[in-house]
Symmetry: C2
Subunit: 357 residues, 2 copies
């Protein structure tokens, strides 16, 4: 789009290997970043956080930008991801949302009837409703020397919070709603999809150079339900973000059986969790699509020798192919020692240097 | 074993299609049973339960037998599974265990150090330590006209409760222990494996005609960790139960990437959750092994038409091959209408009648 600035060349000190890898281009070293690389595992984060509410932090652009940059001071990651929460835009769509530390998002009056779906506001106007997010993105884009990743929750995962009212183990209410009220489900998914598309587009126009769509909990569905109740909305969402020169990363956990569908809806990069061997996952999605992952976050609590051997196994399974972005298979755990992540970044960079072209 | 009675012939009214299917033999109709077919979804169960503690119910052989038989009065299932809990034997191995309704097992003083593993008692003497379980089995074997399935938790899943102290989302402590203290992990898994082997053997000798090993949470591991930290103990466990003339069912959720390993450790039947298409799962484990599954339990909360279409899809994916046991992909949800399960049993029986040999 006209408002998206061209990439600064890497000669100026801007590291573009993450974006190149997203596009499947050869890179000098395998890029690395971590989901939740800014978070509770960092003493600096806990210091900034203090008694603050997470949503309040997200609504303060200076603070959100500061937290976004925290990991860059401590480790050599190849991308920054905006500090925010998938519920930030949802809290401006007509639902009262809070985030309970250690528990997750809570929705005060969840969707329980078909009529409740009408409470979801549409259209979504990012500049008017979440100006602080775009302000943080604009500021970060000016100061970062690595690409900035914007993000949003996918319609299914957001719908699950809106229907369950909070985190769930079995997503029974969500699935019951989906099967019992397919028209209302369609309206809910379509509206969320449109709103999220506007939100991601605004992030890209404000300067985000890639976007990750977190469909964190979609792996609870069987492949037929995914195809019927989720894929059409993802196709529309990713389709609406095509041609914006910002790679689209599509991530979920427990998605081994959904990977080809997740590719087919339009992702440039498919993020995979640790349950699936990286080479198996890549074969399923096809080597023409980039892949992100997939060290088990819990491995970072192990002695370094184990971290190293398991990280190297991920690299070996990537086999030096262009289009691999090293990441964990889910977010950094709060108990993670910060030094382990820093060493991990260096390890991946060192061991993949010769694989460059 | 000498103590195991021969199967009563089906001409006497005993339904043996479940056991035949476990062995991959042709059957007159696809057998059906449901994990947690005795449970909170039943008004009769809630009436019996009242304010009783779950573990206390399990320790009362009359009550456990009564609950085991509840579903047989309401639907035409082809097997009964002993009413008990995977933590019942663990509570006799040196750990104080309680089960919080709606939450799950809690261990008062979990394993936090290598020395804590020594608190796990060995050997396990089922007749001395859980006589009520064997008494219930003996009684049930006399009165049931369907096969009785005994069961136990697998070492990994039991270890996770012992280490986490309760249910977990990320199993971070379990994995950290596994990676950081491999000798202690080996002792823990070996001891649990030996105890559970004794426990299952005793159930078989008391009359259980099949056993299911619930490794419910093992799907949180990557395939290499499964191979290294779990498979050897499962191989020993299933190996010790070979030749007892009781099919061994091996079940876990989120195990799509582990199915071949779960077969290789010695299962006669592999239970699969709904995330993997049944035909894909069966191809992975091989058609020489029986398969159990795999309707999403949440589908039972949908309108009947959806239940029917999705149940038929499971049957079509089984393609009438011998060795399919119809089940849900996990336990019956408490919100399930009992009538839906009864209709589901009839549906599977009716639609597979012509597939008989």
């Amino acid at each position: 789009m006209a408002t998206v600035q061209p990439l600064r060349p890497s000669s100026s000190g801007f590291k573009d290997r993450f974006l190149k890898a997203c596009r499947g281009e050869p890179v000098d070293r395998t890029p690395v970043w971590f989901m939740r690389q800014a978070g509770r595992y960092q003493p600096e984060y806990r210091e900034l956080r203090k008694d603050r509410d997470i949503l309040e932090m997200c609504r303060n652009p200076e603070l959100a930008a500061e937290v976004t940059m925290l990991p860059l001071a401590r480790m050599d990651v190849d991308a920054a991801i905006l500090f925010s929460d998938i519920m930030v835009p949802v809290a401006e769509m007509g639902f009262e949302v809070r985030i309970d530390p250690g528990v997750g998002p809570r929705v005060a009056e969840p969707i329980r009837t078909e009529a409740d779906v009408d409470r979801l506001r549409h259209p979504f106007d990012p500049e008017g409703q979440v100006p602080y997010v775009l302000e943080a993105v604009r500021f970060l884009r000016k100061v970062l020397n690595v690409p900035l990743i914007g993000f949003a929750g996918a319609p299914f995962t957001l719908a699950s919070y809106l229907i369950e009212g909070g985190p769930s183990r079995d997503f029974a209410r969500t699935k019951a709603f989906m099967h019992s009220a397919p028209q209302a489900w369609d309206r809910l998914m379509w509206t969320l999809g449109q709103n999220i598309q506007s939100y991601l587009r605004a992030q890209i126009e404000a300067g985000a150079q890639a976007v990750q769509v977190f469909d964190s909990w979609v792996g609870c569905l069987d492949p037929a339900d995914y195809s019927h109740y989720v894929a059409p909305y993802m196709l529309e969402l990713f389709g609406g973000l095509a041609g914006l020169d910002a790679p689209r990363i599509h991530f979920g956990v427990c998605t081994g059986e959904l990977l080809t569908q997740m590719r087919d809806v339009g992702a440039d990069v498919v993020g995979v969790d640790w349950r699936v061997l990286l080479n198996d996952a890549w074969e399923r999605i096809g080597f023409d699509v980039a892949i992100q992952g997939n060290l088990d976050p819990a491995v970072c609590l192990a002695p370094w020798d184990d971290v190293e051997i398991k990280a190297l196994a991920v690299l070996r399974r990537a086999a030096g192919r262009p289009g691999h972005i090293f990441n964990l298979g889910h977010g950094v755990l709060p108990q993670t020692p910060p030094d382990v992540l820093a060493r991990l970044v260096d390890l991946v960079h060192e061991r993949t240097e010769r694989a460059a072209s």
